[in-house]
């Protein structure tokens, strides 16, 4: 890559890292998730900072057009991040379902206890009341 490409890359990566740090500081992004993005940034920083590293590695791997390696790396990391999100989403959905089920059962319990309480509070009055809503 040319020097100009290196400078452009370094500039873009710096912007992205600053953006993520700002989001974490404002608590809009959990540190857990920011780590993935920051590690993507770190890889890019190394590539931008060490001229010749990309070309050298690409050559070793038998990649003729060196910038392809950059795209390949980016894609691989993005894929990792997306899979991680699917994992987190599944876990989060499972927890939501669990909560919904427990909430429904507890709500029934509360209604029953309330009715029991109401009927024992004035059991001399009405024999059996069924409507309470």
């Amino acid at each position: 890559m040319s020097l100009r490409a290196h400078i452009t890359l370094a500039f873009l990566v710096a912007l992205a890292i600053i953006g993520i740090v700002v989001l974490v500081r404002r608590r809009h992004l959990k540190a857990k998730y920011s780590l993935l993005w920051l590690s993507l940034g770190a890889v890019m920083v190394v590539i931008a900072a060490v001229p010749g590293l990309l070309d050298w590695t690409a050559e070793r791997l038998g990649i003729w057009y060196q910038p392809t390696l950059l795209i390949l790396l980016g894609l691989a990391l993005l894929l990792l991040i997306v899979v991680h999100f699917s994992y987190e989403l599944t876990r989060s959905e499972n927890r939501t379902r669990e909560l919904a089920e427990q909430l429904a059962l507890l709500r029934l319990r509360v209604t029953e206890l309330q009715q029991k309480f109401d009927s024992s509070a004035d059991d001399n009055d009405r024999g059996s009341d069924s409507s309470a809503s």
């Binding site: 379902r97 919904a100 429904a104 059962l105 029953e112």
Partner: protein, 245 residues
């Protein structure tokens, strides 16, 4: 009424219901008439109509889920309810009028002989039940894979007319599959865990409110999903039933 000890010998009828205001009242009336001693719990799966109110008005207990979880989630809630209150047996029953309450005795009977779960099958006995070609093909593949995974042959894997004993309920209260076609996956899960799963022929009525998905690409999608989740059904470690001969 909710004393655990009292329910040990009782039977609970679990009815998952999502927007079933048209058929639920007649289903509940039929149950009340045929099996008056059984407790009935309706799991309202986030219905947008008055399903829950109707259930209570017709004398059923109603568990109201805050939003739609799908049939698997509704059933798991029902199994949890059964376990929490210590029911010895439970029946899964459809709200849409497809199931015949007079057949309940038939699916309960094998539990007395040691079965843990009993499936009421449309296909095991008499009666002609027609399915389209693509659906028939998909069902064939499904039946084949289930037979291999479960190590046992079933004629009606999607039947929602089932009975369970307390051990089966205990497992399903925590481990009921929540994916589409939960019924098939539940079969495999139970068989692999070493539970005694049996099938009995029952007669069923035509679906009252017909909404079986018959667009073939959707069918393919759903069956692929089922196959993926079936293929990944965990093989359970120590067999809970093996310990008690």
């Amino acid at each position: 009424m909710q004393d655990r000890a009292d329910n040990r010998n009782s039977v609970l009828v679990i009815i998952p219901a999502f927007n079933e205001h048209e058929t639920l009242p007649s289903t509940l009336a039929e149950l009340k008439h045929t099996v008056p001693d059984y407790d009935v719990v309706v799991i309202d799966d986030g219905s947008t109509d008055n399903t829950a109110d109707l259930a209570e008005a017709h004398g059923a207990i109603c568990v109201r889920l805050p939003f739609n979880l799908g049939i698997g989630g509704a059933l798991r809630t029902g199994f949890r309810f059964a376990v929490e209150r210590g029911y010895g047996r439970a029946i899964q029953f459809d709200a849409d009028g497809q199931h015949d309450a007079s057949q309940i005795a038939a699916i309960l009977a094998p539990l007395d002989e040691g079965a843990d779960m009993v499936i009421g099958s449309r296909f095991a006995g008499v009666g002609d039940y027609h399915v389209g070609r693509s659906r028939g093909f998909a069902m064939g593949i499904l039946r084949w894979s289930i037979q291999h995974l479960a190590g046992q042959k079933f004629t009606d894997t999607s039947s929602g007319f089932r009975s369970f004993d307390s051990e089966m309920l205990a497992m399903f209260a925590t481990d009921y599959p929540i994916e589409y076609m939960d019924s098939a996956e539940a079969l495999v899960l139970a068989c692999r865990a070493g539970f005694d799963v049996r099938e009995v022929p029952v007669s069923m009525r035509e679906r009252a409110g017909g909404q079986a998905s018959n667009r073939s690409f959707r069918l393919v999608y759903h069956y692929l999903r089922v196959l993926v989740s079936l293929a990944n059904t965990p093989r359970r470690g120590p067999n809970p039933k093996a310990a008690t001969p």
